[in-house]
Symmetry: C2
Subunit: 188 residues, 2 copies
Amino acid sequence: MARTVLDRSDVVRALAGVFRKRGFEGGSLSVIQQETGVGRGSLYYFFPEGKTDMAAAVLEQVSEWFEERIFTPLRTAHDATEAIEAMSQEVAQYFTSRERVCLFAAMTLGEEQDTFAEAVRTYFTDWVDALAGALRTGGLSSQEAADRALDAVAAIQGGLILARAYGDDATFLGIVARTEQRLLGPTR
Amino acid sequence: MARTVLDRSDVVRALAGVFRKRGFEGGSLSVIQQETGVGRGSLYYFFPEGKTDMAAAVLEQVSEWFEERIFTPLRTAHDATEAIEAMSQEVAQYFTSRERVCLFAAMTLGEEQDTFAEAVRTYFTDWVDALAGALRTGGLSSQEAADRALDAVAAIQGGLILARAYGDDATFLGIVARTEQRLLGPTR
DNA sequence: TACGGACTGTACTGAATAGTACACACTGAA
DNA sequence: TTCAGTGTGTACTATTCAGTACAGTCCGTA
């Protein structure tokens, strides 16, 4: 009976797509089955705990991507300006190619809130802290760096909401560009 | 059999609470019944189309609140600074007393996206346009006003996400305060 | 060739789901 | 005191849901 053989990370990628489109609660097992082409058997083989396991795996994959492409570069940067420009570019490309949805932000809503509270907090604090570190490297005070970093991450997340509301990438890209300017701008 | 008699706006307010806590998909009819104390019969009496009707009614009520307390004051303001300070205060109080959830933002996710796309777009454009108008009154160029207004609304929305992620109102209030400063700050 | 582990599809179960039907109860007006 | 209108609670249905069970299949190794 077995037809196509997939490995776990393929399934996780497919799941991420479903969750981005339909939300975590909206993506029922039947929908997941249909849209990923992965059967019920395989789904429960890979994720014995069901949907919760699936969401955790997806979040972990997203987390790894950000760690590798955003957080670590920010942390190890010698040139703050370069690092922040790189972040903007990566972020812009990442979200415009993924339905303009941040799955961690989506997990702050609804029932699943509690289940993933810690993972969500870690994701955002990692981002904010890494960015603040780069800003301090660039010569900002600790307080100023922390504030700007927090504001920047908020602006990006809010930008995604507006981009979805407007059905428009340009809005998001504009926000990211101005956020970058503000991060690199002079102290008041 | 009938016990308590409610009117529609009470029910809508109760529904808003449920949707904020559990999300739109998460709030099943049984949960809604239980948490609002409104029976199935009444629910379908007030909202014949079911959950879609309920969500529409909730969004309309939120919309009216913002129109009255935020958008109209911004539009009719003579003193831009005052109007923007008032907006900050209203927004801060509104969201901290409502689970830090913007229901319109929540509707940009998941299945319900398409159903309410127009209402969501209207809500955000109304806000951004009203704010941009106030900024122009304050002496900013059209372009600068539009950019700052968009960035401010994005910052507020992103601030809500971070506040939920951190389980912390202070984060949100800080973001709102700095957003206000940026709105009122000098042109570069 | 045989065998075990990794993987897959399908048929099933009990619980929960949205929505319907309807009898009932209050209220104000005639 | 009747009556219509506005609500309200409950029992019901058909559907969908997450999760289980299990037989079947492919692949690498010996």
